[in-house]
Symmetry: D2
Subunit: 369 residues, 4 copies
């Protein structure tokens, strides 16, 4: 029996997840079967076209209907639409994969976690970069102690899609829709990776800036205010004693997708850049410099699923792996998902960065009592 799946959202991420589901049978045949059942969106014509292309059986413009019909909800809408459908689904024990960041506000994120804890369903947040083979190899190296004691974490996510001040205003520029600017959009990825790889973050100092403070509306020439940050910077301490620096920008001229992290320990170091996602650079204190590894061998994470060594994969494969781990979790296998609890921790750190910036103070990251 196939799991009936419904998506809210049919844009870029809708296609990425539809593609992932379509590819699983050939490459991860043991993954639970899925049926792309219903696609939800407001614009009837465009939803219908997307459903046709993405392989969905039918469409709806009402997420409540969708939730009633499915075993699994993919919540791929804007951040401010994450909470209600997700909570409704979890109440009905419908599994949920929710895009990141978990919510547009800490309060809603907490409500979602409560719903997840009370539900029998699986609730996962889509921090897809955990599924990059090179980063999973980095995690293996760290867990094996190859890097020694971690000292210095350097995470950046620099992109240029809004580098041009004439780039139109989008919902992400509106703090009410997005909740956060770059600190939430790209910063949540960096913070998730840093926590996952190095451990808990105890306090942060944040600095936000909005360097392009208005942008033209997409449909006319009126200027609309940008109410989110377009650059965030933060320093952090980890429970282990390591320190870190995080940077994110959507106005970083010259950077297409510099989602990079370097982790420096007492015995070694690793570094990664999403623009070269098949590569990991590894330094071992017994050697003299960073070694560049192509992470495509059969022995590498997910390596034997794909092509022979040297045949690279692309960005979309991270989403395929993510879907595989999510569906396995539904089948009670593996522990490969990012739980809502973890996503809430990320969001608390994001939120603390914002508050730290507002208060001009280093702030401890709150944890559950």
């Amino acid at each position: 029996m196939s799991l009936r799946v419904g998506f809210i959202g049919y844009g870029f991420m809708g296609q990425a997840h539809a593609n992932a589901l379509a590819r699983l049978p050939m490459f991860f045949p043991e993954a639970p079967d899925t049926d792309r059942h219903v696609l939800c969106g407001r614009n009837e014509e465009r939803v219908a076209a997307a459903a046709d292309r993405f392989g969905f059986t039918h469409t709806t413009d009402d997420w409540e209907t969708l939730v009633d019909e499915v075993d699994v909800l993919y919540n791929l809408g804007p951040n401010d639409l994450h909470a209600e459908p997700t909570i409704a689904a979890l109440k009905q024990d419908v599994h949920v994969l929710c895009e990141k960041p978990l919510a547009a506000s800490l309060e809603n994120a907490e409500r979602m976690v409560t719903a997840a804890r009370e539900s029998d369903a699986v609730a996962a947040c889509a921090f897809n970069y955990r599924y990059v083979p090179a980063l999973r190899l980095a995690k293996e190296l760290i867990e094996q102690g190859t890097l020694g004691e971690i000292r210095h974490v350097r995470g950046q996510y620099l992109v240029d899609w809004q580098a041009d001040p004439k780039h139109p205003w989008v919902w992400r520029n509106n703090v009410e829709r997005a909740g956060y600017g770059q600190v939430g959009d790209v910063g949540s990825h960096t913070i998730d990776l840093a926590r996952w790889l190095v451990g808990e973050i105890t306090d942060v100092s944040g600095r936000l800036a909005t360097l392009v403070d208005e942008r033209p509306a997409a449909d006319d020439e009126s200027a609309r205010p940008v109410t989110t940050d377009d650059i965030y910077l933060a320093t952090a301490s980890f429970e282990s004693g390591a320190v870190g620096v995080f940077e994110g920008s959507s106005v970083a001229s010259g950077h297409k997708a510099t989602n990079a992290i370097e982790i420096i320990g007492s015995e070694g170091a690793v570094r990664f850049d999403l623009e070269r996602l098949n590569e990991l650079e590894v330094y071992d204190a017994d050697r003299r410099g960073y070694e560049r590894i192509l992470v495509t061998d059969d022995e590498d994470p997910y390596g034997e699923r794909w092509w022979p060594a040297g045949h690279t994969i692309g960005w979309e494969h991270t989403v395929v792996h993510e879907n595989y781990e999510f569906l396995r979790a539904i089948a009670d296998e593996g522990d490969g998902i990012v739980s809502f609890d973890e996503a809430l921790t990320v969001q608390r750190i994001v939120d603390t960065v914002v508050q730290s910036d507002e208060q001009g103070q280093r702030l401890a990251v709150e944890t559950d009592a």
Copy 2:
């Protein structure tokens, strides 16, 4: 009505093409529909498993049966099995996509071309690197004259899969099965790219070497002789006056997939390496150094088919693009295939490199009268 497709071969390339066909509807919806109908191979059990995984309706161990049943043949077997099924298919006006090099001997390659010329079907050879977006962008730049007059072509294809002398003997080490060593296996790719980008090659000087001259059999410890080259080197002249150097190796320690080409002209230059297939480096004589471009914009070749700028694709996408262009050709659209005539020209150059090595002389590449 879907085109019924049959594959000979169910290994790496079988999966790559099956995956390509499976992905076309979502990303290239205007491509002709296909039905993965029949998969041919000798080992009944393994063929059945592959057919199930790759989405084929049924299997056979007889290629003649297969040819009778299909509209399209994918000939993905060893080089010495290219000729007969392909010729049989073309005689029945069954379209053929044949893996490279075209054949294990020049004589068979010529027979295949004759069959293609006499057939109403489309006959294409699978030089998939023509479908790398970065290389298509390189071709656009060259055709627009951005590089000026081409002077120097530098092509390498260096891999290490047999770098270890203990790596088992395979059919590619047998000149009777493979026809050629690295000059055919990777050299044909380099030569195809060079011709496609720069134009006709008029003469070559070749040098072949077999540095590991025996290898253990896969199933026991007996040594089997290597009768193909494991490194080839060649210099060449192009009709345009440019000169070039080509190198290929399967014993290149440290290289996973260095399928690289640099083209230097009077006004600019480009360079590419398959290990970083989303990138093209471009030099323009008005500037001071090579500029690194991520070829993932909507305006880039096949760019709007996939993900937003900065979201990279992988090796397999070259095969998707190749299948798209092949199916379009069947529908009488586009001119995106590598014809058997072109593949024969590549094979003549490959063959001339071998003869040049044997004779210790620079040799002109023969062309049709």
Copy 3:
């Protein structure tokens, strides 16, 4: 008439400056002549050997004697020995080139500035990375507006000389001798470059860590406490509205000399790494990616002084350029030095980073009333 020069310090920096003075006549013949007159240090035998090698006429172990004898003082001793000889020299109108950071305490730095203001002599601080041709080219590009409005400054100085916890304790690990840890040692370089390239820094948030908190004494096995930071991190705002992040470490496994800076503006960007000091990467919003430039052309800063294009220079050339600009300033030419006023501003920022860390607060950088 030659300028009589005296050095306090005969280690690495002593040799670097002696070499610089020795090389000026051949490459910068218009620079004022100098006479390496007297070398000061405590260990009579080692000073004598160094004087012989570095070309000094005689030696002393008394800096007051030295100051009396010379026209120019090079103060190359530990940070806590910068103030007194420098002030004494300036009172006698002896020109001073003082190593960085200006002093081991803000108070002494201020005293040195007062002495400089009251003296007729030239007082310069040895921030030698301003004299890297690639960074001077970066400054030209910024001043010409090529980068547009600066948004994001990313400075790191990561080295590994104390990465091994068994590396012996040195005076730099003692806050009383050094005044500061990495924030002063390498951070002052980064902050100087950032200010010089982008303009005034208005506030900072600092974070310091001492990850290796004791080290073996050089001469026995006793453990000595490390009382300075070995990693510092800071975020900053610039007067112009740009924001920045600075990082420095002496325990950065895998980094030999990553003195790197990236400056991202609305219209372009540049980046530099001292490990490849002949190179500048330049992004221009009219292009698609960073362009790698070898900054060795005749037209480049100091380019025609050295070798033909493509023939690289090394680290020591930065010190030669620095000496040239210093001696020119003595001859009332050019404005190529880093004044004590500027060095004090750097030190105030360094000091504010430390205080910000201690207070857990973002702090404004004080300026003169």
Copy 4:
């Protein structure tokens, strides 16, 4: 007692060697003392200016006078002026350091070798890239067997100084003055490095091209014919069984100083590029990828002579090292020079490449009976 030194030639190489001699006392104090005695050139005024700048006592326009006056001759003139002064000097037991290639013709090279063999003086050829620390480290690794059995040698020397067809004609474009084009100018460097690192070359296949066949005269607009190659390509076999490819060009748009070599063996590999002369990339079959090493440690070749680890050197340091080894040889120490015998072997290979191109045949490299 100092060695009296005379230079023929006062251009780029004159300055490089004068600088080297001037720097030896501080960094290589045990090297024999030298006295820059006499500088020879035709243009009286320019020679006088150069002598003043380079520290020579007096000048001459007559090389025979010079030879009579000195203990050591540096022959830095055009290739066709190498033979006579060198032979005259050696007959008088004057030591000679001669620029590369040894001569403009094989016949003259052989005469020079005869003179060297009959002389008591040291005769060395200035292949300065043997003195790059990274390449000496490469040689150590090869000699220690770290790379295993060498398989594939890839040498390029690609520069762009004549990439523009409007770049003026120079003596190097005249086969009568230069003897050879790029195969002699840059090819001799590549071939020297390949032999030095990998061993004897037994046969070659050459291909030469002159892509810009006339150039404007420097002083007027008349076109002068280019009678040397501007690109050479060659493949080669080594005595050891390795094969290699060599490429050189002076019209390689986008390349400032790509003097690069990669050596691939059964157990490892190294690669180097002069544009990053402080770096060596090393691959070890026990690892997964190339490791980038900064060759500036005390333990590295010439490492303790210069600055602390991480402080890079430049191109000119190769000439300093070369002078050190030359002067040591005069003092009967070390074996660090390139003998005329070795330089003749290089020239024979260069010459065989040219003949191979003319004959369209692979040719054995002749050796002494």
